[in-house]
């Protein structure tokens, strides 16, 4: 008998599909996770900061000062709820957590604008909130430079270009849906394969199977192949919902997108298989999957801009498959890039998949010990 048999492989695939069909919960998750996440990220979780409670301490009381406040308010990053009369009030509000930031316009605002020797305005932020701090700092970099310059140069208030720097313009779904495909695939593919393989061991099926001619390759491939199809179905689902609900387009070639997704799915499955060789129980497999899921979500550039991360975090991110897929999928969907432009990312995913499969194969023995 040959070492690899298509009949045995197909027998495992058929068995796996039958079991999947009867496993209502998994079946529901295959469709439920993508839909739920899409809606969550599209509507509820807004990664762009807006409507921060803020205060203004306007000591200049000039036309230009009022204009500045109006411009900033228009950006919707800040809601200036309080007009203050003294720095003491500002301190109190910040300490009580009633505001996240305060804009301080000094009495000599106009003079500072002209002489440009000192910061024209001050943005006081609540440093205890990392996210607010970061956002406000980015903003604070602008008023002395970009934001103030047009004010200074032109007499065309209301046409401040700089607002685009941080006005999210309600484009959140456009940015998050492509990356979301990667997040959903990471979440479901890694977890499902890891659990599916460990379950076989935990329920004792493996002890019988390894006493048969079934090879580890046939067993693993047979269990994993259905998930490739499921991954592609999930990709399609997110693309369709993204299109119908949020109008997210695919500007590049659909084929490129699916090819990238396919390679990424294989990489995720390889990761899942590898996890299954480490975990002794389904619970352990789940923990390990989440352990790897978190850094991917945080470092891949899906949530926070890659460029803003410290060096070591960037190196780590390069070693995560989701990072490369997020670049691929954003490039293809938003910038109409082709795989010809993005081949290094695709190659990275391929290398990742091959490496992990080899590692898993080394660890998988057709024995119980």
């Amino acid at each position: 008998m040959s070492a690899f048999s298509l009949r045995r492989l197909l027998a495992v695939v058929r068995k796996e599909l039958r079991q999947l069909r009867r496993d209502r919960l998994t079946f529901a998750m295959i469709v439920g996770i993508p839909s739920m996440q899409l809606l969550l990220f599209g509507y509820a979780i807004n990664l762009d900061l807006r409507h921060l409670d803020a205060a203004v301490l306007d000591q200049a009381r000039s036309y230009n000062a009022r204009e500045l406040v109006a411009e900033l308010a228009q950006s919707q990053v800040f809601d200036f709820r309080y007009r203050l009369a003294s720095p003491a009030e500002l301190d109190a509000l910040l300490r009580e957590g009633r505001i996240s930031a305060a804009l301080v316009i000094p009495p000599d605002y106009e003079r500072r604008l002209i002489e440009r020797d000192r910061p024209a305005v001050q943005l006081v932020v609540d440093g205890s909130d990392q996210v607010v701090q970061q956002a406000a700092r980015q903003l604070a970099a602008a008023p002395v430079g970009a934001l103030v310059a047009p004010l200074h140069a032109a007499t065309t208030p209301g046409q401040v270009e700089v607002v685009n720097y941080y006005n999210p313009g309600r484009l959140a779904p456009l940015n998050s849906v492509p990356g979301l495909i990667g997040v959903i695939l990471t979440m479901t593919m890694v977890l499902f394969t890891a659990i599916a393989l460990v379950r076989e061991r935990e329920r004792g099926n493996l002890e019988f199977l390894i006493a048969t001619p079934l090879s580890p390759l046939e067993l693993t491939l047979g269990k994993v192949l259905p998930f490739v199809a499921i991954g592609l179905v999930q990709t399609t689902l997110v693309l369709l919902l993204g299109r119908l609900i949020f109008g997210v387009p695919v500007r590049g070639a659909l084929w490129d997108l699916y090819l990238a997704a396919l390679v990424f799915i294989v990489a995720c499955l390889a990761l899942g298989i590898f996890i299954s060789t480490l975990a002794r129980s389904q619970f352990q497999a789940m923990q390990l999957a989440f352990f790897i899921f978190l850094p991917q979500i945080l470092l891949s550039g899906f949530m926070f801009p890659f460029a803003g991360m410290p060096r070591p975090a960037q190196w780590l991110a390069e070693a995560l498959p989701l990072t490369h897929f997020v670049r691929l999928v954003r490039g293809i969907m938003l910038r109409a890039a082709g795989l010809a432009d993005l081949w290094p990312e695709l190659a990275a995913l391929g290398v990742f998949a091959v490496l992990l499969l080899a590692l898993a194969a080394l660890r998988f023995r057709k024995r119980l010990d």
């Binding site: 008998m1 048999s5 009949r7 045995r8 197909l10 027998a11 495992v12 058929r14 068995k15 039958r18 079991q19 009867r22 496993d23 329920r203 004792g204 099926n205 002890e207 019988f208 199977l209 390894i210 006493a211 048969t212 001619p213 079934l214 057709k366 024995r367 119980l368 010990d369």
Partner: protein, 334 residues
Amino acid sequence: MNTGRTSAGPMSAEPAGRGRGGGTRAVAIRARGLTRRFGAVVAVDGLDLDVRTGEVYGFLGPNGSGKSTTLRMLCGLLRPSAGEIEVLGHRIPREAEALKRRLGYMTQKFALYDDLAVTENLGFVAAVHGLDRAAAHSRVEELLARYQLTEQRDQLAGTLSGGQKQRLALAAAVLHRPPLLLLDEPTSAVDPQSRRDFWDALFELADAGATLLVSTHYMDEAERCHRLAILDRGRLVAEGSPRDLLDALPGCTFLVEGASPRAAQHALTGAPGVLSTAQIGASLRVLTDRRDATAEALQRQLAEAGLDAAVRATTSNLEDVFVHATRPGREAAA
């Protein structure tokens, strides 16, 4: 004892124990110095084993005595820490893959898929063994009929009764007509009638020429084996046919009746010549270590303790053999 031997097995197993050279071997399983350690635990300790072709060989031992570990090593699922194994002429674990086509293994825990129907499970096993669609279909039908699973054919395996599950597991283990079957406590979750039926099925397979190695902790099942090995804490402490083992018993067995068994047990435990005592219902079973121990001597000992009881000799059974073989301090004496 041999009810199961009357029906000639319709199963057309291939002649057992045929080595790769084609010559018939007398020995199906041979192990020397077989040892397996799990950390500090020695699960199997220097086991020597010879199972002859065509026999039903029993592994008798309490939980934790190393039965499962031994079976797993014999079919190549676990590597021995030390020792040599040859099964059907294959050196194990090196040639385990070749053995897997000629071996049927029934695990202690039900190892088929609870969420697959009976026919789906068997169909899967058939495909794994390389049977094509038509061959698989006819073989599955044959097995359903033989093991009375026709009515349950579309039922999910997880919903079967204990006896039905065991029959399904046996059907899966013999599907590819292996000349050697390793069965790990196949009747542990089954009612007495199902156990008898199951053993009939095993003898049917043996009559068709298969070699069977069956582990059990039931004495009545051990009695039915052609030969058996008694395991205790990983060591083989006795081996032979049930008859030989009984004949080799150096002591005799007495039944103490009429007194409170607990009081009698208290009086006799540790008394000279008394190996062990076991309460059976309202009487006490006493195993002595000398053949010349008499009922009178025991009665005297009981009387000294103020107990008035009837003591009579009774025939020894495998339980007594087992107790004798595993008595404490045996290693020191041997």
